[in-house]
């Protein structure tokens, strides 16, 4: 009797398939190793070592993710769950793993210059980034609500600290505190949702819940639906859906730019991974219940995100609202609630990652006060960064021949195929509103009061001049600028290209001092990451089929 009791109370360690959680392990081990090395070496550890090490860890993790991808989409096509059903490796999770790895590589490679400039020398930034990434990965491949919550917390707590990592700036600390308080609030809501779902289904395992819902008719659904609703609120907070988005602008603006970039890419990837998996795959049978909620969230997110972006003067805040609007678009794929809708959302995440990391990397490299006014005439002083930012912003607005276009096209066409015409229409209208604030930045970058002088003096030395000459008529710019001030008709707040003479004079004197505007060199890491992001966005915008195929192949396990 005693013996048998002892026997049952032994903790049964499940078989752990380490290769199934390879990328997560690589990230965690990488973080621990870097932390240990830093502790041993002390303050002498070069920032460059952390950078290289982070990139290396990211690459190894990317390779491990690719291995999983080929395992689950290869000739045998088997998605499998591992570690006693706690995680699942399917095409969808493999893509999320890849995305998070790529984000680590890109932010790791490009952040060195910014961090050194802000005197953030310690390796903790890299350590936290890797830890946060492991959490996002865990969210992507979780097959159990407890594991998903674990992933969410690992990701979030590291992000709170990252947001506050610029110790010398009050804004950074404020961002961290706001993010932490509201994040804790939403985590509690999420956890309560898990509890309610467990209470009504008797399982935290996603496959188990789906099995239960498919085979059982629940007469009183109140508890289950409340649980689902609370979980949706938790996810909606993480991915920044209106009205749970309020933290995003303040946090995006206050955090050090590399942290913003990482947050925008990874929190969205991890959050949406869990969101799509739980709502679409696990709770698919409750589609009629959750679809109206998702519909309303998507619509207000699209509209509010676009409209609020228009009135921003700070580029990081503007990009925060733009990323809220992107979240609305990704949600349109879930409103369609079809396989092609989910593939569209995944494609959108893929395209979004490159666009947003590239954009924030450039914003970080440009530095300054992040006021849009500082971007005036940027094309003449920093042609490479301005051109890159221009391309990425145009891509975000959905200009054809970029991945941004295909992303919007995929989700909207999935919605149309699912006969959700209203939301398709709203999405397209909000894309039109969005085009305005993206183009406004581009207009800022190519105009300066002294434009005529600048183009004369710089002339052929500019890399961009050839591209500009491909379009012989330059009337477009003039038209936009000329038509600007009347727009909106609000005397106190002019929407397009506000011209404060003081600012413009600054541009004037900058140019006059040196004759030719000074071109500030771009660091190798930043240059590489920007080139990769722009290259990806344009190349796969022209040649859409590989990534579309990838997203289509990346199925959620049913």
């Amino acid at each position: 009797m005693t013996l048998s009791l002892l026997g049952t109370s032994t903790i049964a360690v499940p078989h752990i398939d380490y290769s199934a959680i390879g990328p997560e392990l690589v990230m965690i081990v990488g973080a621990l190793v870097l932390l240990t090395v830093a502790a041993l070496v002390g303050k002498n550890l070069a920032r460059r070592f952390s950078t290289l090490f982070t990139v290396l860890v990211g690459v190894v993790s990317l390779l491990a993710s690719l291995k999983i991808w080929f395992n689950v989409t290869g000739a045998h096509h088997v998605a499998f769950s591992a570690v006693d059903g706690a995680v699942v490796d399917d095409g969808f999770s493999a893509v999320i793993l890849m995305l998070v790895s790529i984000a680590v590589i890109f932010v790791g490679a490009s952040s060195e210059g910014y961090l050194s400039g802000q005197s953030i020398r310690s390796p903790e930034f890299s350590v936290l980034m890797m830890l946060s990434a492991s959490g996002a990965m865990l969210m992507g491949s979780a097959n159990d609500l407890i594991v998903m919550f674990l992933g969410l917390e690992i990701m979030s707590i590291a992000l709170y600290v990252l947001a506050g990592s610029d110790l010398r700036k009050n804004k950074s600390g404020e961002a961290a505190l706001k993010y932490f308080i509201l994040g804790g609030f939403s985590s509690a809501i999420f956890l309560y949702g898990i509890a309610l779902v467990y209470g009504s289904t008797g399982s935290t395992n996603l496959a188990g819940i789906a099995q239960f819902l498919a085979t059982t008719l629940i007469i009183h659904q109140g508890v289950l639906l409340a649980g689902l609703g609370l979980m949706i609120v938790g996810f909606a907070f993480k991915v920044g859906l209106v009205p749970f988005h309020t933290w995003a602008p303040d946090v995006y603006q206050g955090s050090p730019t590399p942290a913003t970039s990482f947050m925008a890419a990874v929190a969205k990837a991890g959050g949406f991974a869990g969101f799509l998996r739980v709502v679409f795959s696990t709770m698919g049978t409750l589609k009629l219940d959750w679809e109206p909620i998702i519909w309303v969230l998507a619509v207000i997110t699209l509209v509010v995100g676009s409209i609020m972006a228009i009135v921003q003067r700070d580029i990081k805040r503007m990009l925060a609202y733009s990323s809220i609007s992107h979240a609305g678009f990704i949600l349109v794929g879930l409103v369609a609630a079809t396989a092609s809708g989910i593939a569209g959302s995944l494609y959108y995440l893929f395209a979004y990652l490159f666009m947003v990391v590239g954009s924030f990397t450039i914003v970080g490299a440009i530095g300054g006060s992040d006021d849009l006014e500082d971007y005036r005439g940027l094309i003449y002083t920093r042609p490479f960064l301005a051109t890159g930012l221009g391309v990425l912003l145009l891509a975000q607005s959905g200009i054809p021949f970029t991945t941004g276009f295909w992303a919007k096209f995929e989700v909207v066409s999935a919605a149309v195929d699912a006969h959700s015409y209203a939301i398709a229409l709203i999405a397209m209208v909000s894309a039109v509103i969005g085009a305005f604030f993206y183009l406004r930045v581009v207009v800022f970058m190519v105009t300066a009061k002294t434009k005529a002088q600048v183009s004369d003096s710089v002339g052929e030395e500019q890399d961009v001049s050839v591209g500009a000459q491909l379009v012989p008529s330059s009337g477009v710019e003039g038209g936009l600028v000329g038509g600007g001030p009347e727009y909106g008709g609000d005397p106190t707040y002019s929407l397009a290209v506000p011209s404060e003479s003081g600012r413009s004079d600054e541009v004037d004197t900058d140019l006059d001092d040196s004759g030719v505007p000074e071109r500030i060199p771009v660091g190798f890491g930043v240059g590489l990451v920007v080139s990769l992001c722009v290259g990806f966005t344009v190349l796969f915008g022209l040649w859409a089929s590989p990534i579309v195929d990838l997203a289509t192949k990346a199925k959620l396990v049913p």
Binding site: L177, K178, I181, L182, F185, S186, I189, H220, Q221, G222, L225, A226, L228, G229, L230, I232, V233, A236, F237, P243, F244, T246, W247, P249, D250, D289, P292, I293, V304, I307, M308, I310, V311, I433, E460, S465, V466, G467, Q469, L470, P472, E486, Y487, G488, G489, D490, Y493, L495, W543, A544, S545, V548
Partner: protein
């Protein structure tokens, strides 16, 4: 060797990219050399692909290389795939060959131009687009190339964009071509609607069951067309509308004359040898459709021969050395369309190739003259240049005799074939074509005599106008031959203009190389002409050509100012500009004024400003909610959560 196919456009693209990235750093003349070598590489690849096709039996001479899927949308799958068959490779060979020579010429011609590398940038992009146009295996990619050459044409016509006339000419060409593009697009929509495919093979297979031999003639008449004949007629007419725009047929011809505002190498390459023949190529490419559309064929033949005649009459009265050549090009394109409309596709392609040689030669020769005269283009202010420019004048005269159709120059054989085809269609078509042949020999003879013979008139001109000739290009003194970059292409093209007739001699069937080569594409064509009729027609062609030459000789040998032979009606292009102005330009202007005054300010601006104002107003109100206080944010979350929960609880009942 067929695998070099993708490298044909690849080299041109590589040249474009290199010049784009480092062109301004390479400068003059290195950028030009890079561009020229790139196109030469394309030419070598064309030759390799050609020999690869030669290695196959004539029925197997069709090779498709699919590079990647470009547009996968619903049931529309457009691939980027290239087709090597006798027709496309013939086009690729002469396009790359002539382009290489003209690129070389341009190195000399564009010397010391401010935007030297930009010129070659556009030039390479043009050749790339043109190669995509001819090598594509589907309508969509052809259309891409079609638009690409149109865009390059626009850039290059407006190359000297500081000159208002050049900017206007570019816009004119661009807008007129949009009309043609509309036809092309409509034709594609119609085809896709009926056949669900846009690849050439796919569309053609819908015209005849697979068992039927494709191509005109043979047993094709017995096959049942799957596309209704009405659809086929509509498709062919719409495609022809595209061809009318691109190949400057009536009534859309005038843009080509204005396009002469571009630098002369541009006129030679784009507006004579290659791009403007794209319309003819397109019609030849869809010959399996056209063969089943008799009405469209008649329309094409009539429009073609009318264009040939009208343009030739205008050509007799122009004073600008390049405008004469421009109208001559329009006229020759009309001949090609006549050939296509008469079912004589081989003759049309034959004329296209030989025309590319002699017309490029004539344009380059005129460029050489313009260069020597210090940018003077009025032939009334030239004369006697043969003493100063022996190479240019000899090669130019070869070009003249060739275009006039004097045996044994290449034009005689190719134009003869077209006229034979026209004769079998209808003797009336032949008669108009024959009169045009006299005019051709005459107006080109007028130009040759005015430029190269007689007394030099430019010295007086130089005196009257403050020494234009002597200040031109800073050489001073007398006109002289250009650098070798420029005269070598002249000599090569002159040689080709003389011997190109060998491609397709009519004496025995064994000598018709081009005919045999193109048989897999066009099928065998049997001209319903007896041998004696052929000889009679050939004889009359020769007589007509010589007659034109003789008339030109007798009139223009001594005189240079004969206003009664240059009526204003012809000088002003049959009043077509006026027609455009009153039929299109004025009404459009009136409508635009109305739109600007009423629609734009009241309706559009009103709506836009109201919408913008609303959005901005909403944004500013919403901004108040973003207070910065965590408690307010938490409240928003709580309210949102409450909304979700209330909905769900109500729903759950």
């Amino acid at each position: 060797m067929l695998h070099s196919l993708a490298y044909i456009p690849g080299f041109a693209l590589a040249g474009f990219v290199i010049v784009l990235l480092v062109g301004s750093r390479l400068g003059d003349p290195k950028a030009g050399w890079v561009a020229t070598l790139a196109i030469a590489g394309s030419f070598v690849c064309s030759v390799l692909t050609f020999s690869g096709l030669m290695g196959r039996t004539s029925t197997g001479r069709s090779y498709v290389e699919t590079l990647f899927t470009w547009i996968p949308v619903g049931s529309l799958h457009v691939t980027v795939s290239l087709l090597a068959d006798p027709l496309s490779i013939t086009m690729a060979l002469f396009v790359t060959g002539v382009s290489t020579l003209i690129h070389l010429y341009a190195i000399g011609y564009m010397k010391r131009d401010r935007d030297f590398s930009k010129f070659f940038l556009y030039f390479n992009l043009f050749v790339f687009s043109m190669l995509m146009l001819v090598l594509s295996d589907n309508f969509v990619l052809t259309f891409l190339g079609w638009e690409g050459v149109g865009a390059c044409s626009y850039f290059l016509i407006s190359y000297f964009f500081e000159r208002p006339s050049a900017a206007t000419a570019g816009k004119f060409a661009f807008i007129v071509n949009r009309i043609g593009d509309f036809g092309f697009l409509m034709a594609m929509f119609l085809l896709f609607d009926h056949t669900r495919t846009l690849s050439y093979q796919g569309v053609f297979s819908k015209t005849a069951p697979p068992s039927c031999p494709s191509g005109p003639g043979g047993t094709l008449g017995h096959c049942v067309a799957q596309l209704s004949s009405g659809t086929l007629e509509a498709v062919c007419l719409l495609l022809f509308l595209g061809a009318v725009g691109k190949s400057a047929q009536l009534p859309l011809s005038l843009w080509l004359a204005d396009a002469m505002e571009g630098p002369t190498p541009v006129s030679a390459l784009i507006h004579a040898a290659t791009m403007v023949t794209a319309g003819v190529y397109l019609m030849a490419r869809v010959s399996p459709l056209l063969h089943l559309a008799p009405v469209a064929s008649w329309v094409i033949a009539i429009v073609g021969v009318t264009t040939a005649f009208v343009a030739a009459t205008i050509g007799t009265s122009q004073d600008d050395i390049k405008k004469v050549l421009a109208y001559s090009t329009v006229s020759q394109l009309g001949y090609m369309m006549l050939g296509v409309g008469s079912g004589a596709y081989v003759a049309a392609i034959f004329l296209m190739v030989t025309h590319a040689f002699y017309k490029a030669l004539l344009f380059l020769g005129s460029g050489s003259v313009i260069h020597a005269m210090g940018d003077e283009q009025d032939i009334k202010k030239m004369g006697g240049l043969r003493r100063y420019m022996p190479i240019t004048s000899v090669t130019f005269i070869i070009g003249w005799l060739s275009i006039a159709g004097v045996p044994p120059f290449s034009g005689f054989w190719s134009k003869g074939d077209v006229l034979d085809g026209a004769y079998t269609k209808s003797p009336i078509l032949w008669a108009v074509g024959a009169v045009t042949a006299i005019l051709t020999a005459y107006y080109m003879g007028r130009e040759v005599y005015l430029v190269f013979f007689g007394e030099p008139r430019f010295k007086e001109v130089a005196l009257n106008h403050g020494g234009d000739a002597s200040t031109g290009h800073g050489h001073g003194g007398e006109p002289h031959e250009p650098t070798w970059h420029m005269w070598v292409p002249l000599v090569v093209l002159a040689f080709l203009a003389v011997v190109a007739g060998l491609l397709n001699l009519p004496f025995t069937s064994g000598l018709g190389y081009l005919e045999h080569w193109l048989t897999p594409v066009f099928g065998t064509t049997h001209l319903a002409l007896s041998t004696s009729a052929k000889w009679l027609l050939a004889g009359s062609d020769a007589v007509l050509a010589l007659a034109g030459v003789a008339i030109a000789w007798s009139i223009w040998r001594r005189a240079w100012d004969r206003p009664e032979l240059e009526p204003n009606f012809l000088r002003s292009s049959w009043g077509l500009y006026k027609v455009y102005e009153y039929l299109v330009s004025k009404p459009a202007q009136a409508f635009a004024n109305f739109a600007q005054a009423t629609v734009e300010t009241r309706i559009i601006d009103g709506t836009v400003n109201a919408t913008g104002g609303l959005v901005a107003w909403t944004g500013l109100r919403l901004r108040k909610l973003q207070s910065g206080y965590v408690r307010n944010y938490a409240l928003a979350i709580a309210l949102g959560m409450a909304g979700v929960l209330i909905y769900l609880v109500v729903r759950a009942g």
